[in-house]
């Protein structure tokens, strides 16, 4: 438990000393919402590799801006290869990484645009998910709820986001997947070379980090092996390119710290490619 708080404290300290927060990471929680009536469609390919196997999945996500501060999202997967023993994780703020269909509301409850290209904003996310498989990692998988909150800073040069979330799976047939508290931090930078004005292409790079604390699964009302949580921190780069209504991002995460409970798969990498189109 001490380690859990230590990781959170270190993460928050780093963020608090950062000069900027951002827009468009692939793994970390973010804050931007669409314009009123705006539509955004995403197609993503993602893979998680463990020491024993790898998963491959395509995912499609639809966003609609109800107002400039409230948007609804729907995401659905095409699973190409599932993991026999899947780690408990989310893909990113927009979508689950496992085979869940998810609907969510994003509410940007705070926004302060205070300069050219500059703004602070905070967004809350609330979603519900339904699995596309009956069993995940030898445990019956039920529906789940997901809530998250993030705050961030955007500018023409620097970006940064800090957020935290929680996913809770409901019990199914006397079995229950472990819950998932997590936190993310992203720092982004747009180098001078990419400062060309609209409509020239717009690129930026991010360093993303994700800390996850998945709980153990329950079988017959009992924890599978322990009531403690795994702890893992992943860090990696990502890049986002935007031109007109199109966006493409690519990123990878690698574990830099882990303290896992028994029977938890050891991840080697996560990679994702996402293509966006704004209608």
């Amino acid at each position: 438990m001490k380690n859990y708080f230590l990781i959170l404290f270190v993460g928050l300290s780093i963020i608090n000393t950062a000069q900027a927060q951002g827009h468009g990471p692939i793994y970390g929680l973010q804050t931007p919402t669409l314009a009123k009536g705006g539509i955004n469609m995403n197609a993503a390919g993602m893979s998680i590799g463990t020491e024993d196997e790898a998963s491959y999945m395509l995912r499609y996500t639809f966003f609609y801006g109800i107002t400039e501060d409230l948007q609804v999202t729907l995401t659905t997967p095409t699973v190409i290869e599932r993991l026999e023993n899947a780690p408990r994780t989310r893909g990113n703020s927009m979508m689950p990484s496992n085979g869940d269909i998810e609907a969510a509301l994003w509410y940007r409850f705070f926004s302060n645009a205070f300069g050219v290209g500059k703004r602070f904003e905070s967004t809350a996310i609330l979603g519900v998910s339904a699995p596309t498989e009956d069993v995940r990692g030898q445990v019956n998988v039920g529906n789940s709820v997901h809530g998250a909150i993030s705050t961030g800073y955007a500018s023409r040069v620097w970006y940064a986001w800090l957020g935290g979330g929680y996913q809770y799976y409901l019990e199914k047939d006397n079995e229950q997947l472990g819950d998932l508290p997590y936190a993310s931090m992203v720092i982004g930078y747009r180098p001078d070379i990419f400062m060309g004005d609209y409509p020239k292409p717009d690129w930026r790079i991010f360093v993303e980090s994700l800390a996850e604390f998945p709980g153990d699964n329950k079988v017959n009302g009992q924890f599978f092996s322990t009531d403690e949580r795994s702890k893992k921190v992943l860090v990696g780069p990502s890049i986002l390119g935007l031109t007109g209504p199109w966006g493409i991002s690519f990123g990878a995460l690698f574990p830099v710290y882990r303290d896992l409970i028994p029977n938890t798969p050891r991840e080697k990498y996560r990679v994702a490619l996402n293509i966006s189109y704004w209608l």
Partner: protein
């Protein structure tokens, strides 16, 4: 015949002089940082009746608008479009034509349903040059709270056109 021609001339001039409108807006936009942001705002503005040309600059943080002749657009409509795109509309440099009216020692320009009150920092030489009636001016419209836009604005006139 002369009388008819005179009536036509007066009628035409009367129509032109009563054609109060905004013809150009350089709208400052805060909080717009990325290409899709600019794309969305540009598209939203282009859809508005009365917009002839739009250019959005991320680095300037501005939307440059040329309005069509005889348009019915108001500055409030333009700033509301900025707001629904998720950004904050700040000062705007405008070119507008309207009726100069003196009211309780204050000068205002009436452009359709909107009223632009001259600020005290408008140069005295500019104020002295203004004559009641139709005027065409360039000026800086001061920022108002995005959530409580009205039809009343404050303007510093920089040039009489």
């Amino acid at each position: 015949m002369k009388r008819i021609a005179l009536i036509i001339v007066v009628a035409v001039f009367g129509t032109i002089s009563s054609n109060a409108q905004i013809t150009k807006v350089d709208q400052e936009v805060f909080g717009m940082d990325c290409a899709p942001c600019a794309y969305g705002l540009e598209r939203g503005l282009k859809k508005m009746d009365g917009i002839e040309k739009v250019r959005v600059s991320l680095n300037d943080g501005k939307a440059y608008l040329d309005l069509t002749a005889n348009n019915n657009l108001s500055l409030k409509q333009i700033q509301e479009e900025v707001k629904v795109n998720g950004f904050s509309a700040k000062n705007a440099e405008v070119v507008l034509e309207g009726q100069l009216i003196k009211e309780d020692n204050a000068l205002k320009i009436k452009v359709k349903n909107e009223e632009y009150y001259l600020t005290s920092n408008t140069g005295q030489s500019v104020i002295n040059s203004l004559q009641p009636g139709t005027v065409k001016v360039r000026g800086i419209v001061q920022d108002e709270e995005d959530g409580s836009l009205t039809d009343k604005w404050k303007i510093k006139i920089t040039e009489i056109l």
